[in-house]
Symmetry: C2
Subunit: 412 residues, 2 copies
């Protein structure tokens, strides 16, 4: 099936809004084995909308139209589509009931413009929007399906997922594609590709698809079976092999996150954790604390940006600071070990590094980071050499620290 | 001038990359008074590229083509454009010199594919890319300008800014548009609009454009003069009036940030700052520390997520915690006042709140946040009621805290 996207909205053309709907639709259709052939953004203008509908690619089977369904007068999509498909508007009672319930649930007054949102083209199949007041509409003309959806991303996604994709899959057959993604941290993409070239050969010989998906600080490998879930066990075996070869780098699958996996481990083992941070300035704490329920294991942190505070509140010795400098194995070790005691936690992670863009020296260049880890088995420190991008260095530090502790907890 | 965008790249259609180039171009062209009429994304496919070039809107003056200029074999834009404009390719010596210098500067080996990037259509005007190896190309055909640029955002932006916009402005006249943006925090958009309706009337009567620009947690108002910089003083007066009416809410102009303004004030006044954070879990610290040179004033923080740590390391009294609860004026005050002493800083900000999504009670609902501020003039606390979105509550807390201190420093 070949799909085109038409996004309607002046805000897209003046750059006030980034068209993330198009990329989400691209991902979701691709995962189902459908192909997006073109994505167009146009103004809230009936002539442009009609011109776009009249000029589809010849082999297009389905058109997704996003935007222009709000209650305000700028939003012209519904009337334009009704005219284009020669359809009267009439109040759709289920939609009206849904809009009434929507306003009642929020204790907000319902206006006449909102009632009018239930006036829908009688020729359209209505796609229920349970998260907003603009229903989706499904038209057909000369074997082409036209699906009109609101531009608000979570409304659009909900209607596609709950209403439109099930009908498309019933009509065109459910795709046999079966995807699984394995997540790694700490190995560069090129190096990993070199190391697993034999594994990749076997993957491809077996007829599976392989994609390296970009993700900041991680490498994600997606395997695709064209035979469906029947190959799940084979993919399991391939993933297990990767885990055995790179036990520290491979940390999870699919939508998992390092902070989520770490949280589950800490909960299971009933352990408490804290951090003592210099270069990351709270980014590690915040990432660990972002998991719902993190308060069960995350206690808190000392952010010792200045040397004075490293000494005073993290009790790092002036000897270590003077003899080795703030970015050093010794200081990382003292930060972690003292933090464990001061915060009264089972595990404490410390970070100290030259995040950049300035502050590097020949001995301690930008990108050098020491991470300390103190726990029941002792205190350790490891150095990392990241690049010259400050933001990326901080992200890599946070991911490396969490992955180190994740691996430590799984192996101790 | 009417402009279309054609973005080339399979990664856009499968949703692996979000087309932020289109929104940046939309903003930049709009600011200059040019209109983007359409933005199209298509595959790395010569037929599709040619079809797109053949089907421009009738009144298009300029086409921006992004992507497909890399050295790999997937990137077909250059050859397709050369054929489309009937142009031979030949090595462009300045481009080759630039590519050689690019690799020398990075100590990386230059490959034959990179040399071939200097083979450019002889009919094109070459737009220098000082940040990469893919030059921009400028073609003209039947009064339409075609500008082809690499898809890497910072390369595309650099070429547009340094090479293409100056030529366009010379050709079509520099726009007379003059934009100024004023930044506010702490007043909702609807409420602000209501409060300044008289001011808005005067703005519109004077023939100025007014736009409310979306920004998380802020309200930005952009005034546009169609008569150019001649109206700068008038806009100054309008802005001064807003500042005088809302001295706490109006914090800056243009590209300024709260953390940047706060940093400048702290530097000027030679003050040191720290934070004691509960609900924000380091987000405030990290935002303050994100300004280059922040180590001159930012000392560090205590992140006291658990009550135990509020008591032990921030020395919050058990009385306050038991009698009033962690989210209370008393605890916010003790966190800030004790933090000022423990961190040995001039100003200390504290945060404690119910960020959500769970944990609310009738007395302390999700969205209730107390912020404390301790400084040479004493210790104060203020409560805020944000909404039910955790991420947004944390962002609002950080912005509100910084804006409070900003205003305090400017008025004390």
């Amino acid at each position: 099936m070949k799909v085109e996207i038409i996004a309607i909205g002046d805000e897209l053309l003046i750059g006030q809004t980034v068209n993330t709907n198009a990329s989400w639709l691209g991902q979701e259709f691709s995962l189902r084995g459908y192909q997006i052939t073109r994505a167009l953004s146009i103004a809230d203008d009936p002539q442009q909308i009609i011109a776009a509908l009249d000029n589809l690619l010849p082999d297009t089977n389905c058109v997704i139209i996003t935007g222009g369904l709000g209650p305000t007068k700028d939003d012209l999509t519904k009337h334009t589509l009704a005219a284009y498909f020669n359809s009267e508007l009439a109040i759709d009672e289920p939609t009206l009931a849904q809009i009434v319930a929507f306003f009642e649930g929020r204790n907000k007054p319902m206006l006449e413009v909102n009632v009018q949102q239930a006036a829908l083209p009688v020729k359209a199949k209505i796609l229920k929007n349970r998260r907003g007041t603009a229903a989706g509409m499904w038209f057909e003309k000369k074997d082409v399906i036209f699906i009109s959806l609101p531009g608000v991303p979570y409304e659009m996604k909900t209607i596609m997922t709950e209403e439109a994709f099930p009908i498309l899959e019933e009509r065109f057959g459910k795709s046999n594609l079966y995807h699984r993604t394995i997540l790694t941290q700490g190995i560069g993409e090129s190096f990993l590709a070199e190391q697993i070239s034999d594994w990749e050969d076997r993957v491809r010989q077996a007829g599976l698809g392989l994609a390296y998906l970009p993700a900041p600080g991680l490498v994600k490998l997606r395997l695709t079976s064209y035979k469906g879930i029947a190959e799940a066990q084979f993919i399991d075996e391939l993933f297990t092999e990767l885990k055995n070869r790179f036990p520290e780098a491979v940390f999870g699958e699919g939508d998992q996150t390092l902070e989520g996996i770490l949280g589950t481990l800490l909960l299971e083992k009933k352990l408490r954790i804290g951090t003592v941070e210099s270069c990351t300035a709270g980014k590690l704490a915040q990432t660990i604390a972002s998991v719902p329920g993190a308060s069960a294991y995350y206690q808190g942190a000392l952010l010792t940006y200045s040397n004075e505070l490293k000494n005073r509140i993290a009790e790092v010795s002036n000897e270590a600071l003077l003899n080795f400098g703030a970015v050093s194995e010794q200081v990382a070790i003292e930060m972690a070990a003292n933090g464990k005691r001061i915060l009264d936690v089972d595990y404490c992670i410390s970070t100290t590094g030259v995040a950049g863009p300035t502050g590097g020296t020949p001995e301690k260049p930008v990108g050098l980071v020491w991470i300390g880890l103190s726990g029941p088995n002792g205190t350790f420190a490891r150095s990392f050499r990241f690049g010259d991008n400050r933001q990326r260095n901080l992200e890599m530090t946070v991911l490396s620290a969490m992955n180190w502790l994740r691996y430590h907890l799984q192996t101790h």
